[in-house]
């Protein structure tokens, strides 16, 4: 297919063909990643700016590694040491970056729509590295890549996503992406974290984990933000863990070879038991490796050419 996008803002608006193309492109990228000499000349002279308004070591490092392997020049602006803390608006910061003639901007921001906002005002290509509670497309793509490595075609595969769905951009992106790839997604969480309006994502919802595990090919535990307890969204870690935490024991109910994913960082003993996290079922480290490959694919697709840009 002919790649025509200038930005990756979310999976809601990508087609199945586009998602497949990204995942397909990530395969040769992973081969490069596994070489002893991992450096390509492909994007020599292209620059990628990482604009991170939320602390995130792993996502930022993953993007930087991906850009560097492809030969692009990468730079980072983290919120703490920048003019952002001096009250400069996102727009002004972005304009400054644009004036440096950056080809691609990777942004993480606490506000939903921050990436779309930049795409509206800047010439550069934009990759959304997580915008508020809206989308985290690269995480969902690496999750899908990891599932594809395990199962091949995702059609009919049963994926159970557990936890704080309401506040999760990972859950949203995965729901959009997996549905397009033909998987059957079930969202599971307590009613306060999985309220009725989440049916907007168009997938099955349940408050009862035990009832949903049977036949699950993939079980994904989301990170529980512990401060949600103070907001009264769940009564205690103990009760949360008992109802929605996953363990090898609980996963016996799937009755098949299930893989376990987690976007990290994990709260061991809360949403996932330590023994499960370290078991062969868990593909959590594989997810990290695949994250670099998927981000390489995206950077390549968005910055690889110059005249193909159609928003």
């Amino acid at each position: 297919m002919l790649w025509q996008r200038k930005h990756i803002l979310g999976l809601e608006n990508l087609s199945k063909e586009e998602i497949s193309h990204i995942l397909q492109t990530a395969k040769p990228m992973k081969e490069v990643l596994l070489r002893p000499l991992k450096k390509l000349p492909t994007l020599r002279g292209k620059s990628v700016m990482h604009l991170f308004y939320e602390a995130s070591t792993r996502t930022r490092t993953s993007f930087e590694t991906a850009g560097k392997i492809l030969g692009a020049d990468t730079a980072s602006i983290a919120v703490a040491q920048s003019s952002v803390s001096k009250g400069e608006s996102l727009l002004d910061t972005a304009k400054t970056i644009a004036a440096m003639k950056v080809d691609l901007v990777v942004i993480r921001h606490a506000a939903s729509g921050a990436a779309a906002f930049l795409a509206e005002y800047l010439q550069a290509g934009i990759i959304n590295a997580g915008d508020g509670q809206h989308e985290h497309p690269t995480q969902a793509l690496l999750d899908m890549f990891t599932m594809q490595e395990e199962f091949g075609d995702l059609t009919g595969k049963k994926v159970v996503i557990i936890g704080d769905i309401l506040h999760s951009r990972v859950a949203r992106s995965n729901a959009w992406g997996l549905t397009k790839m033909g998987a059957e997604v079930t969202l599971v969480g307590p009613p306060t974290l999985l309220p009725p309006e989440m049916k907007a994502l168009g997938v099955k919802m349940s408050h009862n984990l035990d009832g949903e595990l049977e036949g699950a090919d993939v079980v994904m535990a989301l990170r529980l933000q512990l401060e949600r307890q103070q907001s009264g969204l769940f009564p205690s870690l103990r009760e949360y863990s008992r109802l929605y935490g996953i363990s090898s024991q609980k996963l016996k109910k799937t009755g098949r070879k299930t893989i376990v994913l987690h976007p990290g960082p994990m709260n061991r003993g809360v949403e996932i038991s330590s023994e499960l996290a370290d078991s062969p079922m868990a593909k959590i480290e594989e997810q990290v490796t695949n994250g670099v490959a998927v981000r390489m694919a995206l950077i390549y697709l968005l910055a690889g050419g110059t005249s193909n840009v159609m928003a």
């Binding site: 002919l2 790649w3 193309h21 397909q24 492109t25 395969k27 040769p28 990228m29 081969e31 490069v32 070489r35 002893p36 000499l37 450096k39 390509l40 000349p41 492909t42 994007l43 002279g45 492809l70 694919a297 390549y300 697709l301 690889g304 050419g305 110059t306 005249s307 193909n308």
Partner: protein
């Protein structure tokens, strides 16, 4: 393939004979098959390399290791082309360190693909020597590159193009000289 066919440069027999000769030359030049490996450059270099592998197996009873090289990520025209070339996997399932690498491609033209292939090879390790085998050399080099094994030298003009068809991908074995439209 766009353009109109001007002539057929090689037919199936011509291709077979050229490859047979190249296979012999490879064996002769490398004094046998020790440490020789074949690397097909995507896309039509791959079936050509496979055919050479089979011919050498026939002549010498040795099955040479075969790898596949995708040079997309090593192209030098990313800032000028108007589309995103699709990247495919490189699959070289052996160590190239100290090997006699035979790079196999269909057409040698400007030399830019060969340059990209050489860079791609270097990133995989440090071979003892790299040689280049092509089915057709049509001239017009833009880089100081030449082939070690050539199926056929074909003088062409820049307005022409050479189209290699192989059974494995195109349903027929032939090499056509085309006139570009416009």
């Amino acid at each position: 393939m766009e353009g109109i066919t001007k002539s057929r440069i090689m037919d199936a027999n011509g291709i077979r004979r050229a490859l047979t000769r190249i296979a012999h030359e490879i064996i002769e030049k490398n004094k046998g098959t020790l440490d020789v490996v074949l690397i097909g450059v995507r896309r039509r270099g791959v079936p050509l390399a496979e055919r050479l592998q089979n011919l050498i197996l026939e002549f010498e009873g040795v099955k040479l290791p075969l790898g596949i090289l995708d040079i997309t990520l090593y192209r030098d025209d990313f800032s000028t082309i108007g589309f995103q070339p699709v990247v495919h996997e490189t699959d070289v399932p052996f160590d190239v360190q100290g090997k006699q690498v035979i790079l196999v491609d269909d057409v040698l033209f400007t030399g830019r693909t060969a340059r990209a292939a050489l860079d791609a090879m270097m990133d995989l390790g440090r071979p003892q020597r790299i040689q280049l085998a092509v089915l057709v050399d049509r001239g017009h080099r833009e880089l100081p590159i030449r082939a070690d094994y050539v199926g056929k030298n074909v003088p062409t003009s820049r307005r022409e193009s050479v189209s290699v068809c192989l059974r494995e991908v195109d349903d027929s074995d032939e090499v056509l000289l085309m006139e570009k439209p416009g």
